[in-house]
Symmetry: C2
Subunit: 331 residues, 2 copies
């Protein structure tokens, strides 16, 4: 799988900025790969990139249109088809990470074939996985886990990889979701594999490696999310992490998409993750806390970090703002 | 999806009785639905049912031929195609729970369409599920959970449904695996759905119901199985059970398929299941312990049950031998 850059980020009718987190993530970590955005009427997201038509994107050198928007159903809207077909006709590829496939939209499949273009459905793994075997693997692994979904696990993982590589350590970010796959160019959408193979696909994604090598594995969901905890559980078991980093967004009033569910306390969330992770790696420990402080008042940040550091004896950082140096120091 | 009974059990060239355990399970719980068996040369399994040709099965009133055999690869053999095609020509449906699909065998797909018959690939869910929403549903639910896989969760669930119905209670067995689906005629193979929808498909399977109605939901896997705990976690959340029954097989020396993993202690397993289940139903409690005593020395059974009853204050039974009356008493 080789997704050709640069990209046009297609944002559709994204109802808020969070719905465009895929596009935002690619832009944050691969800014040179993103030359423009396309927004449809009603779109409430804005990446700050030049707004472009498909023709303008092609003229600007775009090779692939990334459908960088997630609606709750996670499907390709009928209202997008004509525009995406136009992209193919102009000679660009399409990539999406939604529940239905670009390749299953007849007009797109036909246009891709006619114009010799590629459709990348990164949410639909094409590899065949084995069930997990739980066997101890060589090399070291770090996994990010969260109190909730959409809370900074991918960003934290990428910041840790970046810091490790800056120090000359051997490290690879292992993508488990659509945005990460667009960024890394490879990976597996763990929440899109058949349920029997959740742990097995993570064993495949982070295989035996050199003793001093770190796989930095992108977490998914939360053990406390009533929709997705099965994915988080299998990911914890398949990762058999040596190190965990807890990701948290302190302003969130309830679990994402679940108004009746409160966000768990950090200590409760840590204990639950350790209990699950110990099954496949009894030596697992937390090495840091990553705070998404984007919604916090600036004056509140330092006292909050200090109180957490005193409570847990762990480095507390916002990896996107502060980098992950203090977490890597603690490995 | 409603698989029309009665059935002919197709056993193929099953190398031993264990290879026909799906067919055996259907016969044990729905004897009236099984009118005959078909065995090919070399078959070492025998359900004790009349051996029938396809024509004889049709004449005996069979509506569906169940491919109730698991060969090592879990696939439909080429040598079966002509016979299965004959069944469709005679006006019977086909159902299988194997890794490849009846619908992907061209001769069968063509014959089914020509004769207006149905192909049920129960291991390949065709319904589209929503992600779980965690909303409290009306009616009551019981879920069987286990220290390990293949430990009696389906049998325990069916015994509880049978007991409830015998008492005039409103109850439905909800199948989550292939054998259970053949027994109930409907259900969803939870381990075969896409990981994002594990909880959601169970919410669909056991929807809102009358206040005094019990759904008895078949558990899968184990929270302590490094290959399949993700499935078990999502199932717990989607079921939002009021009542749990712990299933255990005391002679097992390690987790099924994982020689390096020991079987958890019953109290540890119960606490872990309660911790997960409380997310979607804080009032959840254990109501009984179901022991698969088939490998125990007869003299060991009573003292073992007594020690467990003293430790946990719960009824302890082997549902297949003793029925589930004492568990239902405790609801």
């Amino acid at each position: 799988m080789e997704i050709s850059q640069p990209y046009l980020m297609f944002l559709g009718e994204a109802p808020d900025q969070l719905a465009a987190k895929t596009a935002r993530g690619v832009l944050d970590w691969r800014p040179d790969a993103c030359v423009g955005q396309m927004r449809l009427p009603g779109c409430q997201a804005d990446l700050g990139l030049p707004d472009m038509t498909m023709s303008e994107a092609k003229a600007a050198g775009v090779n692939t249109v990334i459908v960088g928007v997630a609606n709750r159903g996670g499907v390709i809207s009928d209202s997008w088809t004509a525009l995406l077909e136009e992209a193919l006709e102009l000679g660009m590829n399409l990539a999406a990470g939604l529940h239905n496939r670009l390749a299953d939209v007849p007009a797109l499949a036909t246009a891709a074939e006619r114009h010799g273009r590629q459709l990348f459905d990164v949410r639909h793994p094409t590899a065949t996985f084995a069930v997990g075997n739980g066997k101890k693997r060589s090399g070291k692994r770090l996994l990010t886990v969260g109190t909730d979904c959409s809370i900074g696990k991918m960003y934290t993982s990428l910041a840790i990889e970046k810091e490790m590589r800056a120090r000359g350590m051997s490290a690879d970010f292992r993508a488990t979701g659509q945005t990460g796959i667009f960024i890394a160019g490879r990976g597996v959408s763990v929440d899109a594999v058949v349920a029997d193979f959740i742990a097995g696909c993570v064993e495949w994604l982070a295989p035996d490696n050199d003793a001093d090598h770190w796989d930095v594995i992108e977490g998914q969901g939360s053990l406390f999310h009533a929709s997705f905890a099965g994915v988080s559980t299998g990911l914890l078991h398949g990762a058999q992490p040596d190190a965990l980093v807890l990701c948290h967004e302190p302003s969130r009033s309830h679990m994402r998409g679940l108004p009746d569910y409160g966000v768990p306390a950090i200590d409760v969330c840590m204990e639950a993750n350790l209990a699950v992770a110990r099954l496949t790696n009894p030596a697992v420990r937390f090495v840091g806390i990553a705070i998404n402080s984007s919604q916090m008042a600036p004056d509140d940040v330092a006292p909050y970090y200090q109180s957490l550091e005193e409570q847990f004896g762990l480095p507390v950082v916002d990896p996107f703002k502060d980098g992950a140096g203090r977490i890597v120091d603690n490995l």
